[in-house]
Symmetry: C2
Subunit: 276 residues, 2 copies
């Protein structure tokens, strides 16, 4: 079952209009959150991020944020996911419109929520730098937009290089993120992550990790990161709201040996998710 514009219906019954600008122009946003034991984690942060981006894009929200949270809860129940781990996807588009880029003056946005059981991948992964660049000069690189084809291409490219995760630089050459996650390097024992201004999504898991680092006085810095610094990092971590924290064991075939800080952050992160 999915939640579409106010109703919980079966997937086969659900219809997106062929002139929905989400389909025709990628004109919309999405959020991916995880539920633990049926409880969405940091849902309010996801919804606040969507709301901020929707304001910037001038897409009105068809529902207030508590309303969306209620819809998520109802959908988890309808899909019998109250007791388990689930991936929740919330999709917002500007809705249908006539041909052309100019938004309709009176948009009727589409809001779609889907939820499915979720099992995280193993904690250790391989990664590769890819050719596709992150567009640091567009505000959309700091939003989770429906135009995710660069991430798809990056993922295909990484797979062709025999790696699971794709590391993207921006046009000026600094490291930005992975195709599906934010990125942390451990350099001289300290966490380093590229700032959002480098064309990086302000990830919710990224924020949780920064909060944990602050609480534990681990020392974490948001600063520009060069590809060579990443290659020589003691440890590399990828973070997103679904798989939480993955450790990169190999980058472009070279070994990244460190695991300790990742393990510590992972334990703290998991404790938070189970607390609630």
């Amino acid at each position: 079952m999915i939640w579409l514009n106010g109703a919980i219906i079966s997937e086969t019954e659900a219809r997106i209009d062929p002139f929905d600008r989400g389909f025709t122009l990628g004109d919309g946003l999405f959020e991916t959150a995880r539920a633990y034991d049926g409880r969405p984690f940091r849902l309010e942060d996801h919804l606040a991020r969507m709301q901020r981006a929707a304001e910037e894009l001038e897409i009105p929200l068809p529902l207030d944020m508590p309303g969306v949270a209620d819809a998520v809860g109802a959908l988890l129940q309808a899909n019998r996911l109250e007791g388990g781990d689930a991936a929740i996807r919330i999709t917002l588009s500007r809705g249908s419109g006539p041909r052309g880029y100019n938004p309709p003056h009176d948009p009727k946005p589409t809001l779609l929520i889907a939820a499915a059981p979720y099992t995280p991948p193993v904690e250790l992964c391989s990664a590769a730098f890819v050719e596709v660049r992150r567009n640091e000069g567009s505000p959309t690189s700091r939003m989770k937009t429906l135009g995710a084809l660069d991430n798809v291409l990056a993922t295909i490219e990484a797979e062709e290089r025999g790696a699971e995760e794709a590391i993207l630089c921006h046009n000026a050459g600094n490291v930005a993120c992975s195709a599906r996650a934010n990125l942390f390097a451990v350099i001289a024992g300290r966490l380093v992550t590229p700032p959002v201004a480098e064309g990086v999504l302000p990830g919710i898991a990224r924020r949780v990790v920064l909060e944990i680092a602050a609480t534990l006085h681990l020392g974490a810095e948001e600063r520009a990161l060069l590809p060579d610094e990443l290659r020589q990092a003691e440890e590399i971590l990828l973070t997103n709201s679904l798989f939480e924290i993955r450790s990169v064991g190999r980058l472009d075939g070279g070994e990244i040996a460190g695991r300790a800080l990742g393990a510590r952050l992972r334990a703290e992160y998991r404790a938070m998710t189970r607390l609630g």
Copy 2:
């Protein structure tokens, strides 16, 4: 009426699956072509461009190119557009897939064709540089992908600056194109247009203009173009397959006085469309 995956049906009857990757990830392509007196102009060039990009994205085509051309013809007839000018939009997505960026191994692409009567805007327009950058470091900037939100944002930004057309630079600072068109500057009497490598769509109307320029020995050069060169250009032309050639009369409020080359190219272009 629209053409969807082999059938001509009414818009209200047509259904895009909520898990179509065109909707969820902008994972697909589109083409916009114009029909004159019911005859699509350079449709083979549009379809060849779509085919090249689809191969690069590893999206299989559900129909061969003559099949798509036949479908376009049938749709024009169904919409009683055989005798008039029409805008044709062909949309190809990778089809439905499970959550995540990895493409499904056995994609079932969605192919959608729409056609509507078309009336071009006036030939003269105003333009403004916008903040949004073109992503010169991604292959998708050289394709007409479903992820067009940067163009939507650029169009909104231009409108806020009181201009109709948005001029985009890439991250390294050169001029790339407008949100909905390719761009030519007339400098010292010669046509200059940014090369495709600068994050520019290889436009079909752009190619027609380059062909006309070659035939008439007008002198046309594909080279990097600086914003200041554009501001000081004698003439600025925007080209796309729908409105053909628009002359920019004002850029960021400053007058661009020249019209002669635009008028000459427009006459040649129109002669070709009525012949062809």
